[in-house]
């Protein structure tokens, strides 16, 4: 298995990369970590004429706490260049401090060899329904900066995903930066995933972020599944927790309702029924751990 022939170019700056995308975007592909694109090329599932290798574009390496308020009032937590590697999510204390859900989920993203190379921007743009990062971006309401030569726009992660391996990204655009809103003070979070071998693609995964008010009642709950549909799947059933005391009964009811709501498909590894079962079990675990963390010292 070898890639079909292509022309390769490695820009050294963002303006040069955007100029190359403007010229070659229709027939070409942007190459970031390559941990999804190279398998696709090796299998010849895709045969782009031009590869624009972004690894030398220093402007895409940003990783810093954010400062400011986003358009819907959420506080900025972490600014992240598209070339941030999965390994940094796992290890950089800035990520653990400002986006702890990402740090917790990172070790589920493939294996160490892949995490050393794979990038956040690449994973988000590849839009694999079984990948962790798109679901995490939807859970945390990440803002994505899409740039083309001469212009830029920002999209919420929820608007970015349009279908199976499909996003709002146009052929001449690059996803250049991701802004992760801060985890609100007192919020709890958790990530759970089941895979046949640790690091393999998830059979089902789920992220939870919850809030608890001073009276001990749930003030917000968000539960997002991966690998159960074409895009990250937000479970509406989590809304029923708001106003409730998040005890075992309420958590179980919400997770079981969420598992009934999703529509996973059977594959060679797991039937749809089994995936629903996993969704219910993992949903309970995630909610339990998230509520246990809520109201703590972090923020």
């Amino acid at each position: 298995m070898k890639p079909a022939p292509f022309a390769y170019v490695a820009p050294r700056s963002l303006p040069e990369a955007l100029a190359l995308m403007a010229r070659h975007g229709d027939e070409g592909k942007a190459l970031a970590g390559g941990q999804s694109l190279l398998p696709v090329l090796n299998f010849r599932l895709s045969q782009p004429a031009v590869l624009v290798d972004l690894n030398g574009v220093r402007e895409l390496e940003l990783l810093a706490p954010g400062d400011g308020v986003l358009h819907d009032g959420l506080r900025m937590g972490l600014r992240m260049g598209a070339l941030t590697r999965h390994r940094q999510l796992e290890r950089d204390p800035i990520v653990a401090k400002h986006a702890p859900l990402l740090a917790e989920a990172a070790h589920h993203i493939a294996h160490p060899q892949i995490r050393n190379r794979g990038t956040v921007g690449g994973s988000l743009a590849h839009a694999d329904p079984k990948a962790e990062l798109p679901a995490l971006a939807v859970t945390l309401r990440a803002r994505l900066k899409l740039q083309r030569q001469g212009s830029e726009r920002w999209l919420d992660a929820g608007e970015f995903y349009t279908g199976l391996f499909s996003t709002a990204l146009e052929a001449d655009e690059l996803l250049t930066e991701i802004v992760w809103p801060a985890t609100p003070l007192g919020a709890g979070w958790a990530f759970e995933e089941a895979a046949r071998r640790h690091g393999d693609y998830a059979q089902v995964g789920v992220a939870a972020v919850v809030g608890v008010d001073d009276g001990g009642r749930c003030s917000a709950a968000r539960l997002v599944f991966l690998a159960v549909g074409e895009c990250p799947t937000v479970a509406a059933a989590a809304d029923a927790l708001v106003g409730e005391v998040p005890d075992e009964t309420a958590i179980a009811a919400a997770a079981e309702a969420a598992a009934r709501e999703i529509e996973p498909r059977s594959d060679v590894h797991a039937s749809a029924d089994f995936k629903r079962h996993l969704a219910s079990v993992l949903g309970k675990r995630a909610l339990r751990r998230a509520f246990a963390r809520a109201g703590g010292e972090h923020g």
């Binding site: 022939p5 190359l20 390559g34 190279l38 299998f43 290798d53 060899q113 071998r197 690091g199």
Partner: protein, 176 residues
Amino acid sequence: MADPLTREPATTVTVTTRVNGAEQTHTVEARLLLSDFLRHELGLTGTHVGCEHGVCGACTVLLDGVPVRSCLLLAAQVEGHEVTTVEALAPGPENLHPLQQAFWDSHALQCGFCTPGILLTLVAFLKENPRPSEDEVRFALSGNLCRCTGYQHIVDAVLLAAQRAATQAGGEVAPR
């Protein structure tokens, strides 16, 4: 009209890289994988090619000291970087790397196809975590497939290598 500051895409590239300490400059097809560059251009056939889509780990090498899949990198991408393959671990058969010696002593390989990738994965792992628990070793091995050993003797070998290194360093060796 092309902007003079913008490079032109090309189907062949000239790559200068340092492999096992020696600088190499080769002109190759842009689509050449790093794994094939090492094997076919440089004759370093210790790097094995298994699945060619990043699942098996047989082709693991070190890029600037950290383990990566050489089948998921283009040779063009290692321009200016440093690559380490299994050939660099031992100066000769009589003088194995401590981890290789532990593999030998623990019978940690049968057919040996996965071994180079596993060695490089674990050399980097032991550098970061010189006294790992069995669970940590198994976790570190999760990205490398072995179809012969059932992993038990590989885990034994890593723990043996760690124990020997600790003994040599004069540290107290607590059983784990």
